[in-house]
């Protein structure tokens, strides 16, 4: 049926490949520029004409970031907060998802709608009451302030994601436990959790990303340099050392590393997490 060899056909294929290369430049040039600038000196970044590959390759920007305990602390804070929130979110969302997936109860439909709609509440709306709460409970500028407020934003989506996963597991599995006289609690931990690992990983990836990227609450609910996270650290770097662009790019590369690694290693889970809420 296909007429592969006509001239017109070949032209279309060539045009498509040209367009693909143009698309590739659009998508990746800014990222490439960040990467290559992080290996340049500050003067070379603005050299005329621009150098595509670093002419004098240097690691000085990375050395400056990694040799500065203040900046390492930003990374520690980001990892610490993101891991803690991820563990808490997994645990709490798993319980809720189990309730949604395995039981029928009054109010199930409206609770589900409530959880879907909380996903779109603007962070700026909650920021002002959170600020009031955080100050009055004297947890301003602490990890607790960040962990608790992040949880509110990670939880709804995590519940939906986990419920979706649990719904794909056959009910006979936990019903077998009930027949043997076990409670639903035993069924959850003995049967469901061990086979839910893919769902838990997808939820964790998504939660981690959300925490790692968070900016507004970290900006407002912390104050001392030792409590700041990576995104705020980058902003501080921008203000302090009037435009040490190579350091800023090196810090951006280091700050993107966890996301890039997760994406390359666990692409399937990553995309599952990022699109589940929107496609369903």
């Amino acid at each position: 049926m296909r007429k592969r060899h006509t001239t017109k056909d070949r032209l279309i294929t060539v045009a498509l490949h040209v367009a693909l290369v143009a698309g590739l430049l659009f998508a990746t040039f800014p990222i490439y520029w960040m990467l290559s600038s992080s290996f340049k000196s500050n003067t070379e970044i603005f050299a005329l004409p621009p150098t595509i590959l670093p002419k004098a390759f240097t690691l000085e920007a990375y050395a400056a970031i990694l040799g500065d305990p203040v900046k390492l602390r930003f990374f520690f804070n980001s990892y610490f907060v993101a891991f803690t929130v991820t563990i808490l979110t997994d645990l709490i969302a798993l319980l809720a998802a189990y309730g949604f997936s395995r039981f029928n109860f009054r109010g199930k439909g409206s609770l589900n709608t409530l959880i879907i709609s909380t996903q779109t509440i603007p962070p700026i709306t909650l920021l002002i009451p959170f600020f009031g709460l955080v100050v009055s409970y004297r947890i301003f500028d602490t990890y607790v302030a960040l962990i608790v407020t992040y949880l509110v934003f990670t939880l709804p989506y995590a519940i939906l994601l986990m419920t979706g996963y649990l719904n794909t597991l056959p009910r006979d599995l936990d019903e077998a436990v009930a027949v043997d006289g076990g409670t639903s609690w035993t069924a959850l931990w003995r049967v469901i959790v061990p086979i839910s690992l893919p769902g838990i990983v997808a939820t964790s990836v998504y939660t981690f990303l959300l925490c790692w990227n968070e900016f507004l609450f970290a900006l407002t609910l912390t104050k001392s340099t030792s409590m700041r996270t990576v995104p705020i650290g980058i902003q501080l770097l921008m203000g302090q050392h009037a435009f040490e662009w190579n350091q800023m790019m090196a810090m951006s590369v280091l700050g993107s590393l966890p996301l890039l690694l997760i994406y390359l290693i666990a692409q399937r889970f990553f995309l599952a997490g990022m699109t589940a809420g929107s496609v369903k």
């Binding site: 990746t28 520029w33 779109t120 700026i124 009031g132 990022m274």
Partner: protein, 298 residues
């Protein structure tokens, strides 16, 4: 099983789901629903948060906001930024998805390109802002390329002149956000039954006819739901604008979120900021209701 045992078991089954849900509901209730009530009540008080004995202010703060030309400018900028972003996210996402889905490219190349095309999505808003500030510096690479091509005569200060700043931040956001559409549409394209196209081939349909009469109608549910979500999320933009322009120059990129943030944490007018936050909440809720209704109708 005795009857007593069975009824106890039944009771357990009836209470169990609420117990499993209770930690989540507690958090959502205390830290989401209650604060929403709080922010609404703040918006009707004088010197909210700052004073314990704050008095009732009526609609004063709402009147103040609606009388402020900067608020209306912010609303307009938010709309421009959001609509342009969503339209271009959709267009670019659709073009890339169609190109990647074509059977004219080799499958290995397709997989590599798909991974690379998704990359802009992986970067944090703050990092996207910093990257674009570097690219669009007056002495930066974009200006020097455009000048070499003869497209512009002199260096443009993309983020610091009022004429270009809003377009520049919108462009950066378009770059960062199209992969959500691309990934979702690509999944949608793979779900369209092949016989639709085969039937069209037999009828002698042209490529553009297949696109208009088969592909786009089949993708419509995805296009509508992603557009709504993208609209709601893009409207809430903060870090990208905060880091690139901070709302300036001369309010030319002020959006609702930066306007509210400045009211709250630069001028410490938390009551008026709450009123503005409530307005944002109402717009979001309206769109969310639309989204939920659409999802249920499907």
């Amino acid at each position: 099983m005795t009857r007593q045992k069975r009824s106890r078991h039944g009771l357990k089954r009836a209470v169990a789901p609420y117990l499993y849900l209770s930690p989540s509901l507690l958090i959502i209730g205390l830290l989401m629903l209650l604060p929403m009530v709080t922010v609404i009540s703040y918006s009707f008080q004088n010197s909210a948060v700052l004073r314990l004995d704050s008095s009732f202010a009526g609609l004063k703060h709402y009147q103040a906001i609606f009388a402020d030309p900067v608020f209306w400018a912010s609303l307009w900028h938010t709309l421009y930024f959001t609509c342009m972003s969503v339209v271009f996210h959709m267009t670019i996402g659709m073009i890339f998805a169609l190109m990647l889905n074509s059977d004219r490219i080799n499958p290995t190349l397709r997989n590599i390109l798909r991974v690379l095309y998704i990359l802009p999505w992986l970067f944090t808003a703050v990092i996207i802002a910093v990257i674009w500030r570097l690219l669009l510096e007056p002495n930066g690479v974009v200006n020097s390329i455009l000048m070499q091509l003869g497209l512009i005569g002199s260096k443009i200060e993309w983020f610091s002149s009022p004429e270009t700043a809003l377009h520049a931040v919108t462009f950066a956001n378009i770059w960062a956000g199209y992969p959500l559409f691309m990934v979702s549409l690509l999944a949608g394209l793979q779900g369209i039954p092949k016989d639709f196209y085969e039937a069209a081939d037999i009828d002698g349909a042209k490529a553009y006819q297949k696109l208009i009469f088969i592909t786009i109608p089949q993708l419509m549910p995805i296009i509508i739901s992603i557009s709504l979500l993208d609209f709601i999320w893009t409207m809430q933009v903060f870090p990208l604008i905060w880091i690139t322009t901070g709302g300036g120059p001369i309010y030319s990129t002020e959006v609702l979120s930066t306007y509210t943030y400045k009211l709250a944490f630069s001028s410490y007018n938390l009551s008026q900021a709450s009123a503005s936050a409530v307005v944002i909440l109402l717009i979001s809720l309206g769109l969310t209701l639309l989204y939920i209704r659409y999802q249920k109708a499907r």
